[in-house]
Symmetry: D3
Subunit: 238 residues, 6 copies
Amino acid sequence: MRPSGRDISEMRPISIETGVTKHAEGSCLIRVGDTHVLCTASLEERVPPFLKNSGLGWVTAEYGMLPRATGSRMRREAAQGKQGGRTVEIQRLIGRSLRAGVDRVALGERQITVDCDVLQADGGTRCAAITGGWVALRLAVNALMKAGDVTSDPLVAPVAAVSCGIYAGQPVLDLDYAEDSRAGVDGNFVMLGGNRLIEVQMSAEGATYTRDQMGLLLDLAEKGVNELAAAQTAAVGG
Amino acid sequence: MRPSGRDISEMRPISIETGVTKHAEGSCLIRVGDTHVLCTASLEERVPPFLKNSGLGWVTAEYGMLPRATGSRMRREAAQGKQGGRTVEIQRLIGRSLRAGVDRVALGERQITVDCDVLQADGGTRCAAITGGWVALRLAVNALMKAGDVTSDPLVAPVAAVSCGIYAGQPVLDLDYAEDSRAGVDGNFVMLGGNRLIEVQMSAEGATYTRDQMGLLLDLAEKGVNELAAAQTAAVGG
Amino acid sequence: MRPSGRDISEMRPISIETGVTKHAEGSCLIRVGDTHVLCTASLEERVPPFLKNSGLGWVTAEYGMLPRATGSRMRREAAQGKQGGRTVEIQRLIGRSLRAGVDRVALGERQITVDCDVLQADGGTRCAAITGGWVALRLAVNALMKAGDVTSDPLVAPVAAVSCGIYAGQPVLDLDYAEDSRAGVDGNFVMLGGNRLIEVQMSAEGATYTRDQMGLLLDLAEKGVNELAAAQTAAVGG
Amino acid sequence: MRPSGRDISEMRPISIETGVTKHAEGSCLIRVGDTHVLCTASLEERVPPFLKNSGLGWVTAEYGMLPRATGSRMRREAAQGKQGGRTVEIQRLIGRSLRAGVDRVALGERQITVDCDVLQADGGTRCAAITGGWVALRLAVNALMKAGDVTSDPLVAPVAAVSCGIYAGQPVLDLDYAEDSRAGVDGNFVMLGGNRLIEVQMSAEGATYTRDQMGLLLDLAEKGVNELAAAQTAAVGG
Amino acid sequence: MRPSGRDISEMRPISIETGVTKHAEGSCLIRVGDTHVLCTASLEERVPPFLKNSGLGWVTAEYGMLPRATGSRMRREAAQGKQGGRTVEIQRLIGRSLRAGVDRVALGERQITVDCDVLQADGGTRCAAITGGWVALRLAVNALMKAGDVTSDPLVAPVAAVSCGIYAGQPVLDLDYAEDSRAGVDGNFVMLGGNRLIEVQMSAEGATYTRDQMGLLLDLAEKGVNELAAAQTAAVGG
Amino acid sequence: MRPSGRDISEMRPISIETGVTKHAEGSCLIRVGDTHVLCTASLEERVPPFLKNSGLGWVTAEYGMLPRATGSRMRREAAQGKQGGRTVEIQRLIGRSLRAGVDRVALGERQITVDCDVLQADGGTRCAAITGGWVALRLAVNALMKAGDVTSDPLVAPVAAVSCGIYAGQPVLDLDYAEDSRAGVDGNFVMLGGNRLIEVQMSAEGATYTRDQMGLLLDLAEKGVNELAAAQTAAVGG
């Protein structure tokens, strides 16, 4: 019934390759099916002005898509002279999600910028970006700890995200593009450590939904996030 | 325990004044406590290019804040040369929410733009904008129906929204600014006709939350939305 | 002969409601007929860089129009990414006009920003903005004086403005939109204390004018400004 | 008493050199003392969308300053990414002023764009731009008439402009930069054919003025404009 | 003597992996040492307005760098609101170079956009982009030919590019970042089919150069381009 | 055979008029045939942030074209809100070229900005800008030396530039617009003191070229640059 032939609660294959770029303090290429996102974490020994002398660190994120990551070529945002509304919304979500898993006192007054650039898109790019972004962040923090710059681990637990939706009347896990473009209800679920919620965004355009349906999607999301967290743990060698 | 002295499940006073501007096809000034939003609905007998000859109508929204709607003056977005990320995110939410309550075939090939401008802010401006925006939309559609331009009612049920959050460890309804700025978890709930969900957005920055807590906030949200829907109905004379 | 049926030298009804927003140091909603402008004065204890350590204060203004303040909806300037030429010209005029009535030594090194946002437009918005803007400024300065932060009154006299023009060959006072859009000559007159001139702008597009006609318009303007000054005085309780 | 030693009612030397660029349909380099403006008129056989099929022509203007036209280098507007408020205000004035001297029916459905670029500035650049811009316009129209494309002369009379102001308490004609930067009252006067007014802009920043003073400035302006009109007539060989 | 220990006329290892993204009509990931560029060719069955009904095709290019492609993170151009001067210069060069190898009549009225996004930078990104961009273009054209949409091959010969420079007084081939940042003379050489020149850009900042030195760099460039052309041929299976 | 009737190796008439604007520290109007560029050098006693306390000076350049410098009017870059790719590329070239002739230690920590504004264009504007820009720079440096602010001459030799190309199959010197727009190969050659190369840019769009042809263009360029250098020397009185 799903275009890909997957079961209702079946994730796409997950692969996380780390250390993919020589310059970044942490990096990975995450693949969730045909969605491929390159994530880097860049460390700077300074914080934004509003945190000067606060003793607190900062984690922020930026998101982009290569013009031909998608089925038809999109205009390059740099050439258009601004980031679109969707981009801004997504990168705010990524930053907020990652920060929810960070002890900013333990991080100390430094900033880590996580860049998530979609090389190939097939649905669920923001969720893959959060999941891969956390791996890049973890690796950058590991380096800080190894160097002795940070003593207590600032990352409280893995942060991962998955989308679920109602496709052809049926709740399904991990929407690919073919499903996403026709789903009546579409949700993104960000979780910490596989059992606490960081962010839930469930949107309807046309079809609305009930609390019962919301519960079914949350069940699926928990299953998916746990599989992602296992992949994260394996990738960072933990 | 709440700064305002309200009960945990108590909304702020709601007032919706209609017909507040002589030019717009529909308009209202909604006040939810000290949050005041001027909403207008503007009708155009044309649709965006992607809907030409589709037979479908379109409803879209824009959101703005006067520079001194807030405690300290913010820079005017027109002077800064762009809309901020928060503005873009909010106006996308308003448009998506209102469209979920519209039968776009019944509306026919015409566009209604709902402008929501915050004259005074005290928390919950996006929810007030959705609730008031629907009233402006309802009045513009009433005019279309009275003129015979539309025969079957394109609005399927009222759309209203409320914020809930966890403040001082306690789930509370309808956060004002004093609560919003210190809440660990903050959610916006958009509903159709008081019993179906259109959009749920629950964010944590710092404190995460459980599914049980999510359920308590949804209970509060349903209560709030029903009170807002009653105010909407009274305002449009229905 | 005038579309509104008014006499040649008759102003539209004037109403000035003060204290309309809880955050601003001074505020009013001015209505000149169907032209409604919300004016706020925001105080900051700092001055622009070019005035640092000069001992002088600064008063500046910004102007905006809600998208549906007009008969057909205009694009939002924030969404267009810049303020139009007309907006910039008007806000420079408002700032210059208000400053002409301020003793900047008495004000001391602080800045007051006057925001004038047109909620509904029917001609003469810049004049209403100057007149209402002065009321907001007066109230903000009153608060400064009451708090003892300023001892000698920095406002030398009320600043008010009115438009006059030649409509259907006849000099008329206080043009509304129906007149403004067809007037051959259109002038804006800003005065201090009702008898000194701050700014005269008389433009012809098509029809030119003589010095005698200019004199007749100045006579009308003096009459109008005196009525506006009386309304200002009443509004600020003086 | 004037820094330049000129009499109160004495213009700076005026020179208008025509045909200074080989591409433009009309061009001149106007020098009013040390203020030098290059003016070109460019003809296009099309009109802006709002005039399509109206039978009416259009004249518009743009204004710029070379970065080192002034005593200290100013940032290039193209590099800053926008035209400043002053530039926009000036080019709107030039366009409005020139159009007041054009019979747009006689011109027919074509557009003439007048570019005024200040090569060297010493006060009064907008007035020199209007005066020189009219010469460029006259030459472009002459070419149209010679080619038989226009049969009835669309230019009703010369348009010229001069500044006057109150400097050291004294009304003076044709302010140079040394005067302009210290004048309490500063006015620009645009006239048609030397005896009808197109635009009067008199601004005070600090010092206000009376109707009597306004009359004295108008007397000076009329004298100056007549001298400019004589130079225009000589330049265009008429 | 070179930081990498390479011989003076030794290229870095070259690798070209094709078919790296599922959406693009042609794609490759080119690696020249630690410089990695993802190149995609996107086909559209339309041309820019200036080529409508000309019978000619068009090839254009865009260039970008991921923020952490470099040693320290650079600001994202989309977030800055514009492409920098360097980016614009490079993408104009890539487009011009690729077009020099295209028979635009044989291509027919269609456009191919080549996107070159630098995933990791270590000097010579523009040359790698041209070389890899041609491979993506070749693959997209192959698909067109296979589908019978194009009958005569529009690509006349491979286009490849290499940088050479004078480093520590010595002409060297294929500068990496360590050399590039300290080279007195830096040149980019684009060639067609390994023996004809498309573009030569040799710049000095500080050290100038003679015609003899230019000849030595050209000798090196010919050697490098021939090695690149062999890699291109192998990659496209030819 | 050339549209102008010139010999293959014949420059257009060169004229360099100095001291053309009263404000700039150095200035000239250079005319190479019908290409006229106004060049000014502006001195500031400060350097960009990256050179603070380095003891080194900086020379930079900006380039612009008046809208009607060309055969048909181009849109003003300031009105478009950005500098085009061609402008950016040219002004980077001018700055790089001039810096190659400057001893930045001898200049000391100060910045000279060279503005090159094209008043009339007929091909070769970037070369005329470099040649005239050096004259403006020379005059500004002369003033510094005369004032004793600089003791050792920071200008090592004249910098001049000329274009050559292959027109109708024939290498020709100093392309005018009629040639430039139809040349298969187009090169710009910047030289120091007439015998050392600073920058070579040779581009083909359509026709490629050989090393032999490149040699012929270099021969022509050397001849042209020597004539330009003689004109520079004469202009600066040296």
